[in-house]
């Protein structure tokens, strides 16, 4: 359940479907509670590998498909303000670093979020994830401490618990199962395998205590263990 009251949430991820796996349940809970959510999605996952065999899409038609999937996912979650930022999949880390910080600063200045959700630096696995969340941290670091929004990071590197300990934010999301399932289903081109797993799990009457559809966890950003000294 949600512990904090929020006035505006800003979510920043680089790929359509990044929001589905880790935070769609949590976001649905906030949306149900009437909190406005803006999702800045940096790319359209243009370089996604799941094209099927026989293929259902080409390298060139995939972005349009994923754009529609992203919109459908946002509908399912209850995100009303979706911003597609126009970068290309796999290239985020090669953009000008200061330009990336400015992009985040602009969003924060405009929206004045009370909570920002992105990945957790150094525990985000994909180079686009790392570049995205580092730009977000840098933008917020520049703000006076007492004006900073809360910052939550999604971490899923294999050494996450070793490095960050157990997550301090754990949301029970069983009440928004349909929203999360809808978000995952919306990204069918990418999540097909995972949905099959979930279906199997349900059919077998799996009562595992924790899975994609029971809880979501994040880490409050540890400013006292910042990923870099300065930028």
């Amino acid at each position: 359940m949600l512990e904090q009251q929020e006035s505006q949430i800003l979510v920043v991820f680089p790929h359509p479907d990044d929001e589905a796996f880790g935070v769609s349940g949590t976001l649905a809970q906030y949306a149900n509670a009437g909190v406005p959510i803006t999702y800045a999605c940096l790319t359209l996952g243009e370089m996604g590998r799941n094209l099927g065999n026989p293929p259902f899409a080409t390298r060139e038609s995939l972005p349009e498909i994923r754009k529609k999937e992203l919109q459908a996912s946002c509908d399912s979650i209850g995100i009303q303000d979706l911003r597609m930022m126009g970068l290309r999949d796999k290239t985020v880390e090669f953009e000008d670093d200061e330009k990336m910080v400015q992009m985040m600063t602009k969003l924060i200045d405009e929206l004045q979020p009370s909570l920002v959700i992105t990945f957790y630096p150094n525990y985000a696995v994909h180079p686009d994830h790392e570049a995205t969340c580092k730009a977000v941290v840098r933008a917020i670091r520049r703000m006076p401490v007492n004006e900073r929004p809360r910052l939550y990071g999604v971490a899923f590197a294999n050494d996450t618990v070793e490095g960050l300990g157990e997550p301090d934010i754990v949301n029970d999301i069983r009440d928004v199962y349909e929203h999360k399932l809808g978000s995952m289903k919306a990204h069918a081109s990418q999540t097909g395998w995972m949905l099959q797993e979930e279906e199997k799990r349900r059919e077998e009457g799996d009562t595992a205590e924790s899975n994609w559809f029971t809880d979501e966890s994040m880490y409050s950003y540890k400013w006292d263990q910042d990923f870099e000294e300065s930028f």
């Binding site: 293929p55 390298r59 038609s61 696995v125 180079p127």
Partner: protein, 117 residues
């Protein structure tokens, strides 16, 4: 996309020869390859909107196919593992190799106009 049909694909490759064309060439084993299996050495590359001219292009007979383009300046473009192709609605020749799980492993695309960003 359809499964490679040599005669058809060879004709299409010929139709882009001897003029400036834009190339997208890519190989990948996925950004998560070494996250799921730490023994995997992850390597890949892509180039996009590089202009070249080729004087001879060939697709080899056995599937999955290799495609080689001999460039007018003495250089080469080479792709291995091509399984599918199509001439898309914008007249671009898209070739791709999809693995047994339906994941793209290689792509070679030839266009007379630039690819989107």
């Amino acid at each position: 996309m359809e499964t490679v049909e040599i005669t058809k694909l060879q004709e299409l490759i010929n139709s882009f020869a001897n003029e400036d064309v834009y190339i997208h060439l890519e190989t990948t084993n996925g950004a998560y390859a070494s996250h799921f299996d730490e023994k995997v050495f992850n390597a890949g590359c892509f180039i996009r909107n590089v202009v070249v001219q080729y004087e001879l292009g060939k697709v080899t007979p056995e599937a999955p196919h290799r495609v080689g383009l001999k460039l007018a300046n003495g250089g080469w473009i080479y792709a291995q593992g091509i399984t599918h192709f199509e001439l898309d609605d914008q007249g671009r020749l898209l070739m791709a190799g999809h693995d047994y799980e339906g994941k793209l492993a290689v792509a070679l695309e030839i266009s007379k106009t630039p690819f989107a960003y």
